[in-house]
């Protein structure tokens, strides 16, 4: 009895399989040619350690892309495999991982890593082995000066700073106070803000700092209160900026709060609560898809990616997922042109133009390995705990 039922089931399944195959063929969809050699792409991401919140969505995005490609036409008919290594958020481990991927796995190109530190450890290895590397980290140093084999997908810290200064200029805010985290991200951001402020008719009237684990910034804020600052620019990552928002509310300070892209996450809203309302910060357009022209290639890209990511993982996309997906996309598109010869692959990546990813439109050149532009960013304002595009004019 049992046997009969199961053989019946198998028959039904077989029929279904044939049906699906016939339908697929009928639609003329391209399939991966399994007889072709698998294209291996290495990836070093921070899957554990402090940077795990960055590396994990990047890994999910690459897994999704691999699935999409192998279900579709592959890369020029070749099946694709992303070989993903964990650098545990440590530069030395990242360096060891890329060496292993190049020497043992013989990958044609590498994606990663998630943080600037780990990427800077990997870059010289990629450069000397002549293997193209596309990273997901935003630190300015990675592509300045340009290393011929090193590319990136995220908008850079410099772009975010420029965006903030453009916004301040458009809002006719001439005097600002900077309050920054005393770590590398905060200090670097504050330095660059101070240097470039003049170009946008912005004067820095106060510059204060706080420690990453500080919980009370009222002393710094009361000092800023005594200056003619018309807005406060906070450069740091959670939880410091949330404490600052709460302290400003406590002190009854009403001047505009402009944050960094370090608070472009739901966590900031959760931590700061009602104090988050009114906070403005620069971020990729994908966080507010409505800010991208309806029906455009970019908007379709973002909407499709968000839908498929949600279907596979039951999670919303974030900027890190976008960086990972775009890195995979750029690499595989270049492979379609150049195959697996690393030198040709590098040339193909550098020649990438008008490639629409989730973060924006990528245009690389010999001088520009960043790909994106400041105009790919928008200013977002938090209203009632929700993100909306803040139009500068």
């Amino acid at each position: 009895m049992l046997k009969k039922t199961s053989s019946g089931l198998i028959l039904v399944a077989l029929c279904l399989a044939v049906l699906v195959a016939v339908t697929a063929a009928g639609c003329g969809e391209q399939k991966v040619d399994t007889s072709k050699e698998t294209y291996k792409i290495g990836a070093v991401l921070s899957l554990s350690g402090p940077a795990a919140p960055l590396g994990q969505p990047e890994q999910r995005a690459l897994d999704l892309l691999e699935e999409q490609l192998n279900d579709g036409a592959g890369v020029d008919g070749h099946p694709v495999e992303f070989i993903i290594e964990d650098d545990e958020s440590q530069p030395e481990k990242a360096k060891a991982a890329i060496t292993k991927l190049i020497n043992q796995e013989k990958v044609a190109g590498v994606i990663g890593s998630s943080t600037t530190g780990a990427t800077l450890a990997m870059a010289p290895v990629a450069q000397s082995s002549k293997i193209p590397l596309i990273c997901c980290a935003a630190g300015t140093k990675i592509t300045n000066p340009v290393m011929s084999y090193v590319f990136r997908t995220p908008p850079t810290d410099s772009m975010a700073i420029t965006k903030v200064l453009q916004y301040l200029k458009a809002k006719k805010i001439g005097k600002i106070a900077i309050l920054h985290d005393s770590n590398a991200f905060g200090t670097g951001g504050a330095d660059e803000l101070s240097q470039k402020a003049g170009e946008y008719d912005v004067e820095v009237v106060a510059r204060e700092s706080y420690g990453s684990t500080d919980t009370d910034m009222t002393a710094q804020l009361t000092k800023i209160k005594g200056t003619p600052a018309e807005a406060i620019v906070v450069w740091g990552t959670n939880p410091g900026p949330a404490s600052i928002a709460k302290n400003m509310q406590q002190l009854g300070m009403n001047i505009p709060y402009v944050g960094s892209h370090g608070i472009a996450n739901q966590k900031f809203i959760e931590l700061a609560g009602a104090a988050a309302n009114g906070v403005v910060f620069p971020a990729g357009k994908l966080l507010v898809p409505e800010s991208i022209e309806e029906g455009s290639e970019w908007r379709t890209m973002v909407d499709d990616f968000a839908a498929e990511y949600k279907a596979k993982y039951n999670m919303d996309i974030d900027t890190f997922a976008a960086h990972g997906y775009d890195a995979g996309l750029i690499m595989t598109k270049a492979m379609e042109e150049a195959g697996t010869d690393p030198v040709k692959l590098r040339d193909a990546i550098e020649e990438t133009t008008a490639l629409v990813g989730v973060d924006g439109e990528y245009n690389y050149s010999a001088k520009d390995h960043d790909g994106l532009k400041t105009s790919d960013l928008i200013m977002i304002i938090i209203e009632n705990g929700k993100w909306t595009e803040e139009k500068s004019s």
Partner: protein
């Protein structure tokens, strides 16, 4: 053992002068701030008291274990971290009423504290104090790793006990949670002080730290004493972690900062003295905030550690600590 036992004070007068001197110094700093900066200065002092109460609460945990066992428990900050994170899981996420979440979180951490003492400290009771201190560092690292595994790396938020609308007076603004922290610190210091000075068990535990053989003759073995001290310290630490989390947030690695600042406060006030923990915490908090206000704010943390070094050099028994062995 001998390293941590403070040498008998030879110059009582010199020490009293130092104590009075530092009190006058702190008083002068506060007065100067108030006079030169007015209500802004007052805001710094009020904020400093909030931050200082947080340090004081953590320092209290250091004091409890130190006065009973002469061990400095570097996992004290982790108890507070666990308290905050459990409160988040039980109440903020799990929907338990806050008071019930508070009780369960404290109970769980207390049980963890007691278990850790039995599993890691007790088997090593014959080793030197310094060995046990190193074990506490290991406990701290382990607790942090477990917390990271359970709750991840993102900090979390716990709702304030009585709203977020600031209370204003004399030009300064305070969030209501600050009063909870300050009040809680006062209640805990009174309870701990009474326990160690007015109850037989408490007195016996202090005696066990000084002379374990004599204490066991009157019925308090150093083994029991250590267990009770760890249990109390875990409970105080967890409760402190919950009360400060609405101001502080909570996160797997928040115990490091809390532990360091709490330790500094405890040393400043006098290790093993409950009132000393409160005084040390408040002085540290106020000086830190004033420094952040007056000087470039980056120097703030340097102040805490400068104070720590100065105290260890000049007055290792702290502001309120006694140089002699305590009479019980």
């Amino acid at each position: 053992m001998e390293y941590w036992e403070f040498h008998v004070g030879r110059a009582d007068r010199r020490q009293r002068a130092l104590l009075v001197g530092s009190a006058v110094f702190v008083g002068l700093v506060i007065a100067a701030t108030l006079i030169s900066k007015g209500s802004t200065g007052f805001q710094w002092i009020v904020s400093g008291i909030t931050v200082g109460s947080i340090y004081a609460l953590i320092a209290m945990g250091f004091s409890v274990i130190y006065s009973s066992t002469r061990v400095i428990n570097f996992a004290q900050g982790e108890f507070s971290m666990l308290g905050g994170m459990l409160m988040y899981s039980l109440s903020t996420r799990g929907g338990l009423p806050p008071w019930l979440g508070f009780i369960f979180s404290v109970l769980i951490v207390t049980a963890i504290g007691a278990a850790l003492e039995r599993l890691t400290i007790h088997p090593m009771r014959d080793q030197s104090v310094i060995t046990i201190i190193i074990i506490t560092i290991g406990i701290a690292i382990a607790l942090r790793a477990v917390a990271k595994w359970i709750w991840g790396t993102d900090p979390v938020k716990i709702a304030s006990f009585s709203g977020d609308s600031p209370i204003r007076f004399l030009g300064a603004a305070v969030v209501p949670q600050s009063f909870w922290v300050f009040g809680f610190a006062i209640v805990v210091v009174i309870l701990v002080f009474l326990f160690f000075n007015r109850t037989l068990l408490g007195k016996g535990m202090r005696a066990a730290a000084t002379n374990s053989d004599a204490a066991s003759l009157v019925g308090v073995s150093s083994s029991t004493s250590s267990l009770i001290a760890w249990t109390i310290a875990a409970a105080v630490g967890a409760a402190a972690g919950i009360v400060i989390a609405p101001i502080n947030f909570a996160g797997y690695n928040f115990g490091i900062m809390l532990g360091l600042k709490g330790f500094t406060a405890a040393v400043l006030g006098g290790l093993g003295s409950a009132p000393g923990a409160v005084v040390g915490g408040l002085v540290l908090g106020v000086l830190e905030t004033i420094t952040a206000g007056v000087f470039p704010s980056g120097y703030k943390d340097a102040v805490a550690f400068l104070i720590l070094i100065l105290v260890l050099l000049i007055r290792p028994q702290g502001l309120l600590g006694r140089a002699e062995d305590v009479k019980v």
